[in-house]
Symmetry: C2
Subunit: 425 residues, 2 copies
């Protein structure tokens, strides 16, 4: 018995999270399956940012650093993110980019390794980790006399040997949507005398994360994907309180100083996570991010992250099933694990030919996913679809698969306009 559009509509009727969609602007004629790249606009973000601009900046001017609480935004937003990732209050700050924050925590991790395990000289990571993470690690390895060892997923445990100082992983893979077992891998790392650094770019707000439960050492993450913070909104950083005061990170700027307004010539790091701040942060972008985070506050009434996770799995299950039922003869493969415990909030399809053009044809129809090229190292081209449980409906999944079916059946994707690659996809 196959699933029908009416079945999907019935699922939406029964969806207790349905009211959360009303917190967002969703363009007409668009089915947005790219919230894992840039989340959608919270309805109140425009008015909130307008208030920051006209009232706080325009009228209060420099006084707004106190009167509008700008100075504490990194910590205030950090506390809101902490609730989503199993961190405690005062343990997270929002600041800089994910790449810059990764540089800070990896540097701190190497400082710990240098001291606690001086013979260990390897950072272990996954070959298909998000490239910027590898670039940051590569640079630090060269500076600090470490080796970056890249392995496939199945090679991670064997790589946690006597040389491994730091295991650096992205929790949910950006290409495949495969999710690691954070607790098990962190435990395995610790058993090998190795620290665990997690990138939560595709996890925060998408899947339940329990950093303290997993006893992770460091974490960074992105706020403009599932947290709907707006284009390029600042990232976040968490450090296990056991490590927070041991070392300070190399980007020792004034916002991470114990007494920033004493303007002393010597650096004295603030206690705890505040020392992971560096320079002044972009307030307009932080204000928009707060609107995205506040939707998660509203979601608490409806069951919070566990309920969002259940819907996310139902959406991705439905997408997989519908693709297999309705597009069966079109050569699509599944790159995302079927096992719930190994799946993030996206589904990635593969196809030997035409993956890029199929994504373009879908975008032209208003079904926005994205394409990620293969890397010639065993990773094939991918059609990537993100399912944000805050605003994606079961009917959206049905319609998306219907469009995919039509694009494939009519060979629409072969039209030349869908086969011209842009610089940015």
């Amino acid at each position: 018995m196959t699933i029908t559009l009416n079945d999907c509509r019935a699922l939406d009727e029964r969806d207790t999270l349905r009211p959360l969609r009303d917190h967002f602007v969703l363009p007409d004629g668009v089915i947005y399956l790219d919230g894992n790249s840039l989340g959608v606009l919270p309805k109140n973000a425009a008015s909130r940012v307008a208030e920051v601009i006209t009232k706080e900046w325009g009228q209060d001017l420099i006084r707004a650093w106190n009167s509008a609480g700008w100075f504490d935004l990194p910590q205030r937003l950090g506390d809101k993110i902490a609730l989503l990732i199993g961190a405690g209050p005062g343990e997270v700050v929002v600041t800089d980019s994910t790449s810059v924050n990764l540089y800070k925590v990896l540097s701190a991790a190497l400082n710990i390794a240098d001291q606690d395990a001086p013979g260990k000289k390897t950072i272990v990571s996954e070959r298909s980790n998000f490239p910027t993470d590898l670039y940051i690690a590569e640079g630090l390895c060269r500076e600090r006399g470490y080796q970056l060892q890249l392995v496939e997923a199945e090679g991670i445990l064997p790589a946690l040997n006597q040389d491994a100082a730091v295991l650096m992983l992205t929790h949910v893979n950006y290409r495949t949507g495969a999710m690691h077992d954070m607790a098990a891998l962190t435990a395995a790392a610790h058993a090998a005398g190795c620290l665990a650094v997690w990138d939560l770019a595709h996890s925060a707000g998408a899947v339940p994360v329990d950093l303290r439960g997993a006893q992770a050492d460091f974490a960074v993450g992105c706020s403009y994907k599932y947290l709907n913070g707006g284009p390029g909104a600042p990232a976040f950083v968490w450090v296990n309180p056991a490590h927070a005061d041991r070392f300070h990170q190399p980007l020792s700027g004034w916002w991470g100083h114990a007494a920033p307004f004493e303007f002393t010539p010597d650096y004295r790091p603030a206690p705890g996570i505040t020392r992971y701040l560096c320079g002044t942060q972009p307030i307009l972008s932080l204000a928009a991010l707060e609107c995205g985070l506040d939707v998660f506050g509203a979601a608490q009434v409806f069951g919070g992250m566990p309920a969002l996770r259940a819907k996310s799995l139902a959406l991705t299950d439905l997408f997989i099933t519908l693709v297999e039922e309705r597009c069966d003869s079109h050569g699509l493969g599944l790159a995302t694990p079927r096992n719930h415990s190994q799946r993030g909030s996206q589904v990635c399809l593969t196809r030997k030919e035409g993956a890029y053009a199929i994504v373009q044809a879908l975008i032209a129809r208003g079904v926005i996913g994205d394409f990620r090229a293969g890397d010639g190292a065993g990773h094939v081209d991918i059609l990537r679809f993100g399912f944000t449980p805050l605003y994606i409906r079961f009917e959206d999944v049905w319609q998306a698969v219907e469009h995919l079916k039509q694009v494939l059946e009519t060979a629409e994707w072969k039209r030349s306009e869908f086969n011209q690659k842009h610089a940015v996809t």
Copy 2:
């Protein structure tokens, strides 16, 4: 013959730059002499950011990276700043914070020094440099086996000896408004086989800067002061083209990659200044900054930076003269050089007692300057007043001094409410 209010009004009447004030929102009842800390709001910034939020983010979503030109913002805004600092097109990017950018260029400078002058192991800077610059240098020195040598202004030339690898200075001092001779000090540094790194935080948009003319090596600067980019707007970075391709900086993130959308696991730096980008940047804050920069485009019609500099000096001259004429008996000293060639766009006063409270009393009257505490190393408490020639009138200067006179004459500043220090001033 003393200067009168009518004289000041006559100066405003004759001021050819007067129309530029209309580009900004200036709150009623406020004389804003803190544009050197946070510049005022350009009138079109609210509508521009609203467009970015509702149209580009809200409707175009991920497609806006191409359709709205988000991806090229760092370079596009960089080119606008380049015009103000004597840099060429394609030589400047807007990104990250001043502190983070300083870390990048100091790292690159040390890479050059390691290779070209391996025996030189000192970074020379000024003890009264902006503290975050010193914190960043301090951290890098420890990492890289260098010494940070801090001197007073008169000790800079003698410190350019056989040990000096890098001279790192802020062009206009944040406390005193004293301006260095960039060309002469850069030449002296080069004569000693030493690189010159300049922080333009209090220069860009305030005084003419000629990085190429001075043959400077690296520069960073801030966009939310005289460039009116909005609270915490991203900073900028310039590298002399002779150095740009020699090394890449340690924050090697995906936005600085030669082919960022190939997602290859190995870092390959982009040519030129683009390799000084790291992670994704806050688009809302960049959009607001563009509005601030575009006023400088409009100022070209009125004579551009030379005309702005002439007005800035006239404003600061007038302030000094009026303070001396009208507040003579009140124990105020002048920390800012009288010599035009040594003065930025601010005037700093000293007073043995009550500097903090006097600033607070002025703020309560709507005259917004700020206070900077002495550091116990020969630097006394300072009352700091910035004069942004884009929007400050000669009459504003008169009124500010009139308020200062009244605050001193009535001893208003001794009231207890002006003597309670806040965490942030």
